[in-house]
Subunit: 404 residues, 2 copies
């Protein structure tokens, strides 16, 4: 059902990084469900995690490990989130890190754990640990696509993308993989993203870029407003290309742009693969007093079940769009100055239906698989863009039948 | 599909109030769609309206009229919301008030208009106005149930309730009617409520009681978080029973309690009749630092599509409850101190599944038509209770097919 999404054709290796995948039998048989990402010495890493107060054991442990030494290994399992598992869950996560440290001859703190899958069940640490020697021996710089597949849960397609660019006569590569089926299932839809480059960046710059770009990519998507307990986004710089990116460089802009493209592609891929999705919808709010105000309006529209079901029905039901904008938590909004458009068609302006609008024209736009809802508040200079899906009967079916 | 809801058997007349209904042919043929409520001279009225910035023409006009003289007539139509209709819509609403004033020999400002129905279509003011003499001649103190039916849109059942109580040896009656199918459709699901008593209250006390009780009734229900452009709740006191309610009276508490019961009954009836609803769910958050915090957590749970589909599936998927609580906008929430229960069954406590909990016990609770989700944050003394429904495939079907 994914909307305009294909599996990645080629994922470029990133110098300094090797990956491996294996089937550890965590939840399902016959598929890889455990991935290892090895980082060369000297690699810098920045990470952001879920804001959910109910965060999983591996998230707690990852945060703690990252506060100390530079990491060397990222261990990722699908099939089990190790969340809601209390103290035993914390012990399980630590045990896997300890075992991997023994196998790979590094410190336990240099291993960062990630889990995604069912909530509330004990992690099968023994099965994971017995797979670690096999995992280590499979490490390869070509392992990106296999890893993208191993970390999938309810995703219908693996998600990944590469960009290369020339800086100072040298080639710099950025490759990223992600999983997540639209954050529609806290049980299974954890969003995980790993983006790596062989460029060299200071820790400060790496963290700053991650923070900025996550805001415009992974933090600008929504399917149903639910946030996973295990979300994580990691940005890695190995430095092996010998190209150094500084904030003052002329090449900085090019690199930033390429990195933004990678992260936006991955974030959008998650929305396109949202369960039950039949539409890829951009909600673009302009003319707001602040970016926060623009995001508030955009999210209110993007989360409205009525708006989402109208998109599913391909119904240009602008009353629902208006009502959603009107109930957004925004001070003194004058609806008589709000314009609303569907792609190139102005639907509502100056307090009433646009004079040129007709139901027929609206229906033509709504039949498209990708639609941009334009909302201009005409009261400021700020804007925000949010990507989301429609709400289909398939969504309810999947989420109601799951686990049953 | 309504959950444990029957049509009202008897609605008691309220001295000083007459009602009438008729079929004006506004949207559908063969059913009443226009109601008139006549208030005797000296009646006091308090009203609250939608907070949606995109409010309909009749809401604007009603607010203006109420700021002047005491109202004598409430004119309510279903089938057309007169919203998103710009200046022509305002003229239509005013024209109906003017015509009714002429027919009933009162001032235009003494007529308060209410509309509910489709957004974006012109109100058929001529058809309404030609029905007004017929409407006037049908006025009767027994007209409550007919009026409750005339104001219905997508409701499957009329909603109304009466309470009588003895105060100082005299009988005081409170009767209320409401419409709304769960605020699930801004097009059609406007919530309208009219509650009247023959007790006598000061304007200040009337407004204070309405404000307080709306918070614990109509402002504590949600189906999908969407707010209509036309919502209104009206509290009327005719004073004809000659019983005066003062804040300092001993009878105040009894009267307040009876009024609270009427408003809560009507609010819950709207949830029970929510489209596609198969469950009536109470989300009861305790132990919060403030009432606002308790409401934030309760609404986050009540709005979560994942929680709602789990209820539809009768699946005790506590991971979804936890994840929803965890992502609520609450500062420094420690999930290790949060307890979660389903009716009498504790599901989660001290950071993990409760020792006595089993999937089988959880499933037994989830099979019930009415379920209370108990959430104790264990960090304060405040609480909040929100009523909501599940999210069914029927909801999507209704809201996707509507208008198509």
């Amino acid at each position: 059902m994914a909307v305009n999404l294909d599996p990645p054709s080629i994922l470029q290796p990133v110098a300094g990084i090797r990956l491996a995948s294996t089937a550890a039998g965590i939840a399902h048989q016959g598929r890889d469900d455990l991935a290892l990402i090895e980082l060369c010495a000297g690699t810098r890493l920045a990470a952001v995690f879920t804001r959910n107060a109910f965060c999983a054991a591996p998230v707690e442990l990852a945060r703690r490990h990252l506060s100390g030494v530079n990491p060397r290994y990222l261990l990722v399992n699908s099939g089990n989130a190790n969340a809601g598992t209390g103290e035993p869950g914390r012990r399980d996560a630590l045990a896997c890190c300890q075992e991997l440290a023994a196998v790979c001859e590094c410190q336990t703190e240099e291993v960062i754990p990630f889990s995604t899958g069912v909530i509330g069940e004990r992690l099968p640490a023994t099965r994971i640990n017995s797979s670690l020697p096999r995992l280590k021996s499979g490490l390869s710089s070509e392992g990106w696509l296999d890893a993208a597949q191993a970390i999938m849960t309810t995703d219908t397609l693996p998600k990944g993308v590469s960009r290369s660019l020339q800086i100072d006569g040298r080639c710099v590569t950025i490759t990223g993989i992600a999983k997540g089926a639209g954050m529609m299932r806290p049980d299974m839809a954890t969003m995980l993203a790993y983006v790596a480059t062989d460029a060299s960046l200071s820790q400060t710059l790496l963290e700053q870029m991650l923070r900025e770009l996550v805001g415009d990519s992974f933090n600008s998507i929504t399917v149903d407003g639910d946030t996973s307990t295990n979300d994580a986004c990691v940005l890695i710089a190995t430095g092996r290309s010998k190209v150094r990116i500084r904030h003052t460089d002329t090449a900085y802009h090019d690199f930033y742009q390429a990195l933004a493209e990678v992260m936006t592609h991955l974030a959008q891929a998650i929305v396109r693969d949202g369960e039950g999705a039949t539409k890829f919808i951009t909600v673009w709010v302009k003319g707001a007093l602040s970016e926060q105000e623009a995001r508030e309006v955009a999210y209110t529209v993007a989360h409205s079940p009525l708006v989402k079901t109208a998109f599913y029905a391909q119904d240009p039901n602008w009353g629902r769009l208006l009502a959603a904008v009107g109930r957004a938590n925004v001070e003194r909004l004058d609806m008589n100055h709000v314009d609303i458009s569907l792609d190139e068609v102005t639907v509502f302006s100056q307090g009433g239906v646009d004079v040129a609008y007709s139901e027929q024209v609206g229906q033509r736009v709504m039949a498209r698989p990708e639609i941009t809802v334009g909302i201009n508040l005409h009261r400021g200079e700020h804007q925000a863009k949010i990507w989301t899906t429609d709400l289909s009967g398939e969504y309810v079916r999947i989420n109601a039948e799951y686990r049953s």
